[in-house]
Point group: C2
Chain length 339, copies 2
């Protein structure tokens, strides 16, 4: 059995962010340009440069936790979906995706690419769909993230995930047979920084999908929700109770089971709550390593993001269910023929 981490973010050399900085400065006036990153810079960022603290590179972290394969997307908080003109958002996404494609090639079988689509609040999804096609068909990517708030918390209300605004994207996802993984990008609110906004966006997205007709209209659509579904598994009885008022209709939890959830939660209790709420068939291993969970948990002596150890320890899960969570569900949902 392989351990596939469906939720990782690709480390990127500083040159990529210098390119972004320039795009923001000239707002597209100087043209697209190109971000030339030497192979050595990529090797350095993946194998040598230490992540925030501790003497470990990105690959060291994966090796330490026994992660065989990681699905890597651009760091979402860098994607500046609310920046204008929209072409600089697109150019930056393209360069980041090109980098990820090279990372997948340089460490064959170790990574699969996930796109962060260029989305812009109030604009149609044409660029997002075009880049999704390019990433899947030309770069061999396994899926994409979908940002439910492309306004990035600037105050406009994006359409609910059940709104027909999103339908062209859902159609393309079905056609390409790849999933969208729900994940916010930036947040322009001081009181709700991106790391917190992600959680609230996931809460809102699960609620929105459950309340929508999306899975009636797209029975083959595959949606994965980050960080174990935001608040929803903890708050689920509240929504379940209200849904039971309509006799004979699917319950809230029935609706939740149309979605998949990653296990990017850094405690055994929370992961247990997730799996027992939605079922092992709806959970996909994720650790987002190295990231928020890279500190040592004084109670266990291991890093918080050693999610595999929590799951291995669940004696109420069968070996088959564990294999589903660690590998099989990811293979059913993402396009993973090369890893």
């Amino acid at each position: 059995m392989k351990i596939i981490d469906c939720h990782g973010h690709a480390p990127a050399p500083d040159k990529l962010f210098a390119y972004k900085s320039l795009l923001i400065a000239h707002r597209g006036a100087n043209g697209r340009g190109k971000c030339n990153i030497p192979d050595d810079d990529i090797r350095h960022i993946m194998e040598e440069k230490h992540f925030i603290f501790g003497p470990y590179s990105h690959l060291d972290h994966l090796n330490n936790l026994g992660t065989d394969v990681q699905l890597i997307s651009p760091k979402p908080f860098q994607m500046m979906h609310s920046m204008r003109p929209t072409k600089i958002v697109r150019w930056f996404a393209e360069e980041y995706h090109n980098l990820i494609a090279r990372e997948c090639e340089m460490w064959p079988g170790r990574f699969a690419g996930i796109a962060v689509l260029p989305q812009y609040g109030g604009e149609p999804l044409d660029d997002a769909i075009a880049e999704l096609e390019r990433c899947v068909n030309e770069l061999g990517f396994a899926g994409c993230l979908m940002n439910p708030d492309p306004y990035e918390n600037t105050g406009e209300h994006p359409p609910p995930v059940g709104d027909r605004y999103w339908y062209p994207l859902y159609e393309k996802l079905c056609e390409l047979d790849v999933p969208a993984h729900i994940h916010g990008t930036g947040s322009l609110s001081e009181r709700e920084p991106f790391n917190l906004r992600f959680i609230n966006e996931e809460t809102t997205a699960v609620h929105g999908f459950v309340k929508s007709d999306v899975f009636k209209d797209f029975p083959d659509l595959k949606i994965v929700v980050s960080h174990g579904g935001g608040a929803i598994p903890y708050q689920v009885a509240r929504f379940q109770s209200v849904s039971l008022r309509k006799k004979g209709s699917p319950t809230f939890i029935d609706g939740m089971r149309n979605l998949y959830y990653d296990t990017v939660l850094y405690s055994a209790n929370s992961i247990e709550m997730l799996i027992k709420t939605v079922g092992a068939d709806r959970c996909i291993f994720g650790s987002e390593c190295p990231g928020q969970g890279a500190s040592i948990n004084p109670e266990t002596g291991k890093t918080f993001d050693d999610v595999a150890t929590y799951i291995r320890g669940f004696d109420w899960l069968s070996d088959e269910e564990k294999a589903d969570i660690f590998e099989n569900n990811a293979r059913r949902v993402f396009k993973l023929d090369k890893v």
Copy 2:
């Protein structure tokens, strides 16, 4: 031991909402007017009128669950904090509070009043503070709700709860020795209806308080968070991990323990997660009955909001801890000399 439900909303006769409807229609042009509600209407709404479904009145619901005392505030989603001019928001809050004061008098020892302060995005808190004083000193209320987003999700960013904008309110709360119970009001976003927005606002508020200096500046301030703290107990390891990067500083969970949390969660697992995260000394019994949790849970045969039964069943809590959650913590935090 008494069972004190710290989170209830006061049923109100239709006349109150007819008054609100008129205020919205004339926008204050016809003056304040008055909402004349006969005692019989109040008796009807409390003792006879059935709540949504099932043959039970508000008081029946409390009796069925064995709730001795309930703290009742206006229904927050009715409070129209984003409506203008601000005086109609204030007038409506005053009338609702006057009604609650009468309910407390008509069923002595059964209820205590909680204000929903008239707050307006972008405006100082003068009216909120004046109404808090009136409610506590003249109407004998036990505390108030605080709405962290008085813009009601219209897109403006309210100041974080740690911002000095809120300090005059915190000062007055300390002076009056009453708590603020964090609870959103309306939401003008289709994708994030008020019932869901409450949860996201609680998540944001807990995070904001933990990241702030509020409890350094107001060591006696008492803040209660609704619905078990939104997403935070479920997601806590994520934030705890990051907080451990700063050696020697208080951790995220240390910061959470400056706050209190009500138990308005409708499953035993979630309430267990809450208590084990923040400690029994930080949890206050709440059921919000009758409300979201009034359906029968097919797994237990009881209503979801029979929260007391979940807590009584925890063999890992001592009798003293249960008494703290059911009664003593509420008495320490709210002004409850009359119940």
